[in-house]
């Protein structure tokens, strides 16, 4: 049978709520009882957040004990979108929620000494934040790390404190990119896809991680591949609707795989064999990609 903490929501109290943007907040949850698997979770894995009487939804970790979060806490950055997130945003510190997990396959944790670029769009920065923090904590000094983060406009930027902290570290190159940039914006403009190749070149990256809205994934992945990164070394975080988290409800089917158990982190080489991974028909984008 499955472990109890996969089936039964484990109680956690809302310890702190941090403002990220108008519709996005970071929730620091403290588990009432320790769940050692949650303390050992990897970037890219996720939990099912449970609000009794409202429902459950999957959320990935933005920080982890492995990246400096307090043991016994679960840190989730959440955008207000549906019924569960609306109810979550209405909770005050001290309120009780439930957490099941951790579920899924996160980012590979080896090769922390190799240059890597992280490409994020919108709230897709959240799973990458934990992965970036982990590499920055474990890399050999001077290993180049690039972060390319695209947002719609200045008000929708999230994880600003983390971005500022990374910017101050040696051998870290941050490119922030706005679709609707004000006149005084000093960063990049337009879509992230236009800035992939220069960042790969500047960092000498041999690996990449990618997370963002569905429409961004295929062109950004193609850009990374064209910039010379092998498909096996491009790690893509997929998002799907989920009800169980452990491969039973069927909602996250991706061809013959499950995003919840086989992913949510897949290499681009794996996704080549899963034509439903990206929204554009697989035959079209494969033809377009040399």
């Amino acid at each position: 049978m499955r472990p109890l903490h996969h089936l039964l929501p484990q109680p956690a109290r809302v310890e702190r709520v941090e403002h990220e943007s108008a519709d996005t907040r970071t929730f620091v949850l403290r588990l009432v009882r320790l769940v050692s698997d949650l303390d050992r979770a990897a970037p890219g894995q996720f939990v099912m957040l449970s609000l009794l009487g409202t429902g459950e939804a999957p959320f990935t970790f933005s920080q982890l004990p492995a990246t400096g979060a307090a043991p016994g806490t679960v840190v989730l950055t959440v955008r207000r979108m549906g019924a569960v997130t609306r109810a979550l945003f209405a909770l005050a510190p001290g309120a009780t929620v439930g957490v099941r997990g951790p579920f899924g396959r996160g980012f590979p944790l080896d090769r922390m000494d190799e240059p890597c670029v992280y490409v994020a769009g919108g709230c897709g920065l959240t799973p990458l934040r934990a992965a970036i923090d982990l590499q920055l904590a474990r890399r050999a000094p001077g290993t180049p790390v690039g972060v390319l983060y695209g947002a719609r406009d200045p008000a929708t930027r999230i994880h600003r404190a983390a971005l500022d902290a990374w910017r101050r570290l040696p051998a870290v190159r941050i490119v922030e990119c706005l679709q609707e940039a004000p006149a005084d914006w000093s960063g990049a403009r337009g879509l992230v896809t236009a800035h992939v190749a220069p960042l790969v070149e500047a960092t000498g990256a041999r690996r990449a991680a990618l997370c963002g809205p569905a429409g961004m994934l295929a062109p950004a992945a193609m850009g990374l591949r064209r910039a010379g990164i092998a498909a096996e070394d491009i790690h893509v975080v997929l998002e799907r609707h989920m009800k169980c988290g452990y491969g039973t409800c069927g909602h996250c089917y991706l061809n013959h795989r499950y995003v919840c158990t086989d992913g949510p982190v897949f290499s681009l080489a794996e996704l080549d064999a899963l034509p439903d991974a990206f929204d554009s028909p697989a035959d079209t984008w494969h033809q377009a990609c040399p």
């Binding site: 049978m1 609000l51 009794l52 609707h241 039973t248 409800c249 069927g250 013959h256 028909p281």
Partner: protein, 341 residues
């Protein structure tokens, strides 16, 4: 295929009554009976004789182990606990081979699921081989019949001379036959020959449908074009009939009732043919067109990819989807349009 197996022989069909009586001492008998709504699994008394002429029930045995609604959590005072289904011991007598294959498939799929396994562990399965094809069934084309290979506690094979071969498939089935005082012996050559003759006659009773194998090969090989799937999608009314009657479908959604203080969380049958099945809170869905969803459904039923996890392909050839589909895109309907021959 009896060679080397130990079997018992009931001298006549009425011998099943002793088996039913023995089962009924500790379990509720469930058998297929025809009612106002058609054939369905029904609680019966062992005093009423067994009905050998059984139609494949449209609803199937799925709902006994994987019910349309299963309570997962119950909470009072805002503290949730796992719900434990009340599952009384039952014996399903007369399970068709296609449904035995489907139950074995779901047994593997739900092997680590406490709710399914609690219900399933309370059941004894007595299969009966089909001696002739049923209307719309094509179990022989997907290796799920007309004779059962496994998935039963005891399989019964009626022979034309009135005898019935009883083959145990599990230790529980063997114990049941032992308790009836039936001698279990390696099948003699003559008995094996009679079994093979019955199986050959059953297999020969299926209509010729050469398009079935061709269509399965095309779906499994990914050789059906997007255009063909979209043409089929036009005929999907998203009524969810196929997924409800399919004996291997088990996708569910989760529904909360009550409030944060007291309530329940249940899983309820869902359907991958519904437009909202994969829709995310943002409104994005990876399968926006009916053809995408029809393709996903049939890929799941016919691709060998899935056999690794569940022991066989998802389709058991029962033909129920053809009965229920208002758009004529049940299994044979789809295969007739995709296959040649």
């Amino acid at each position: 295929m009896l060679t080397g197996r130990e079997v018992a022989v009931l001298p006549e069909r009425a011998g099943i009554e002793a088996l039913r009586a023995a089962l009924a001492r500790t379990r509720q008998l469930l058998e297929i009976r025809r009612g106002d709504a058609g054939s369905e699994w029904t609680a019966v008394s062992p005093d009423v004789p067994f009905e050998w002429a059984r139609e494949r029930p449209l609803g199937g045995a799925k709902r006994i182990f994987c019910p349309p609604e299963e309570t997962l959590l119950v909470w009072h005072d805002a503290t949730p606990a796992l719900a434990e289904p009340e599952a009384a011991p039952v014996a399903l007598v007369g399970v068709h081979p296609c449904d035995l294959a489907a139950i074995a498939y779901q047994d593997r799929f739900f092997a680590r699921d406490p709710w399914y396994m609690r219900r399933r562990s309370q059941a004894v399965l007595i299969g009966i081989d089909c001696t002739a094809a049923c209307a719309g069934g094509f179990c022989h084309a997907v290796d799920a019949g007309p004779f059962a290979r496994d998935g039963f506690d005891v399989a019964l094979t009626p022979l034309v001379d009135g005898r019935v071969i009883a083959t145990p498939g599990t230790p529980a089935g063997r114990a049941l036959l032992d308790a009836l005082g039936l001698a279990l012996e390696p099948a003699a050559a003559a008995l094996s020959a009679a079994y093979e003759a019955a199986r050959a006659a059953a297999a020969a009773s299926f209509p010729e449908r050469p398009f079935v194998a061709d269509a399965i090969a095309r779906v499994d090989g990914g050789r059906v074009t997007h255009g063909e799937w979209h043409a089929l999608g036009v005929s999907c009314f998203a009524c969810t009939g196929c997924t409800n009657v399919c004996p291997t479908c088990s996708c569910f959604t989760v529904v909360d009732e009550g409030d944060a203080t007291a309530g329940t969380r249940s899983r309820v049958w869902d359907s991958c043919l519904l437009a909202g099945f994969q829709r995310e809170a943002s409104g994005h869905t990876p399968a926006p067109h009916p053809g995408d969803r029809v393709r996903r459904f049939w890929s799941h039923k016919l691709e060998q990819h899935f056999a690794a996890a569940c022991g066989r392909v998802g389709c058991v050839g029962c033909g129920r989807c053809d009965v229920t589909c208002p758009g004529a895109i049940g299994a044979l309907g789809v295969m007739a349009r995709l296959g040649s021959g």
